[in-house]
Amino acid sequence: MSEIKKNTVREPLFHLAKRSSIHPAAAWGIRLAAVVIGFILCGAAAFAMIEKLQQNPGKIVDFYESFIKGINTSNKSFLENRKLWAFFKETAILLCISLAVTPAFKMRFWNTGAEGQTLMGVLGAIGVAFYLKDSVPGWALLLLMLVGALVCGAVWAVIPALFKAKWNTNETLFTLMMNYVATFLVSYFLVIWVPSGSSSLGKLDIQKLPVIPVSKTSSINDSFLITLIVLILTGLLFVYLKYSKQGYEISVVGESVRTAQYSGINVKKVIIRTMLVSGLLCGVAGYLIGAGLDQSVTTESVGGQGFTAIMVSWLAKFNPLVMILTSALITVLGAGAEQITKTFNVRGALPDVFVGIILFCIIGSEFFINYQIIFRKKAVDGEKEAVK
């Protein structure tokens, strides 16, 4: 060999490699750290936005306390704590929608239409109530409302699935558009139902969901049933995805369509059936909102939870049991930020900002779970890996 010139050498400092495996505890540790960092960043953001905090930095303690206060202010017993149960109820609704998007996501069907599917569920339930409330007994109406919600939610989910199965129409964009069609469908019915032109339906005078008397406070009893229903659904979905034949088919289709065809799975059928399950669950969520909480419908009945649910489901790695935690986390953030607006007397949409910050941190942390950074050693031999 001739002389070697060294001046042109540029070595990359590090390169990335996919981790072959990571201990589950380490993975959850990284996620937990991300949440903690997120909360610290929330504090920093609050410091920038809230003047009272700038004047009195000591108040930062109040700031963090608000996240607890948001869901629990009193020292009352568990069953009598109204705020805590309101928190459970809110979590349950979000959890229910998150459950709904999960089977589709496991199948790699990017259903961004949970918002619209749930809204259609609400519309279905309230539509039935509006037309039949004077002609059938209360309990029958509740059942018919459920049917209405299920049918509407399912139809809204199955339409994009049919086109995906038949023509491979992009489902992300299709379901996203269906949200707005649903929104305007709701405003259409509101105009028809409310002749006055105010476009606000108001609470319908219909029978409420049956009450399970666990406490003296009635609002807790309402929450109890909804929380219970959603917890049962969570368990059922977990079992469905993990132990049922259909759940197994969903996993196979999500992983590789070719493998599914090879093993004799009818992929089109699975796509449609899974979206039907998604739509039915959205219908349940819509029913719980329509019949359980509001007894009414507006274009804001779902209030963006259909989108939040996508993040909840993804954060939980599509595991229904973990979703209990992630949906609770999002709700805590929202309730806490709500509390902060009271404590510090600020206007605006602080909850969204905090949710955004925490989400960014968790989403970013996934990188460190899936990849490792390998620093290149200058020496020729040896293969020390610097893992972060």
Binding site: A17, L176, Y180, G304, A349, D352, V353, G364
Partner: protein, 317 residues
Amino acid sequence: MNIWLNFLIDSLAFGVTFMYGSTGEIITEKAGHLNLGIPGIMCMGGAGGCLVLNMIGASGLPGFLIVILGILGAVLMAMLCGAIYTFMTVTLRANQNVTGLALTTFGVGLMKVIMSKLDYAVYLVGPKALYRWPFAGQTNALQYLGILFFLGIAIAIVASIVLFRTKKGLHLRAVGENPGTADAAGVNVTQYKYAATIIGSGIAGLGGFYYIIDYMASQEAYLSLEAFGWLSIALVIFALWRPHMTILGSLVFGFLFSCSSFIANIEGINVTMAAKPLMKMLPYAVTILVLIISSVRNKRENQPPMSLGLPYFREER
């Protein structure tokens, strides 16, 4: 002015909001990134511009400087948000849908916080006339035809030329179609993804700024902005991923979205209240129709970019 012409101009002026949004989103999608954060980015763009105007609106600076600084504020703020999205999805390889949705949540929320702190009298009342130059005094739809209106149309046309007539555009489209191939051909995929997504975000941000400062020009304008971010994403499909088509598309969308209230004003036509929401639904319904038809016809040129939504990591090949 003729009532119909007035309405057409009004529709187009309205459409410029999502013309910006969808031009930005098309550039982003051409790099293979479905950015569902566009509504948040548009909001933040609007907030950024207003933030700057709030600082300089009453400073007595020359008008053109105020205009330029406001635009810069909007573009930079939106680019910053776009940079967050790009960093997460390109460098950290996060899921695009989730990141985009998180960004929208964050951006819309922060925009509302910022806007609630600004002084309407400073950022809007004075600068509005500057941006509406040369038609500031008009009372009909001509008043909207200001600097940002023409800038939007110019950007849409330029974006098309860049995408389909230049080498950079060729590279960008290759990145969105098949990043592995582009990479092997020596195109710096990461660089293009960053550039496209950040520039696209900057353009989209102007849409939000235009909506608040020019088209709506009211204190509450920002509260209704998010919905038009989503409409922008619909318009991308309607325009079949061609920026110049967004000009036509935004006219159609603007027309459909506002024709219910327009028709109601014409004598002799009786529009029931119920028809209004159905007409507002039309842009989305038409978009779905376009999506279905293009997937049924399956013409290669009219499909979403092949790698849309997929992360790219070289060593995985």
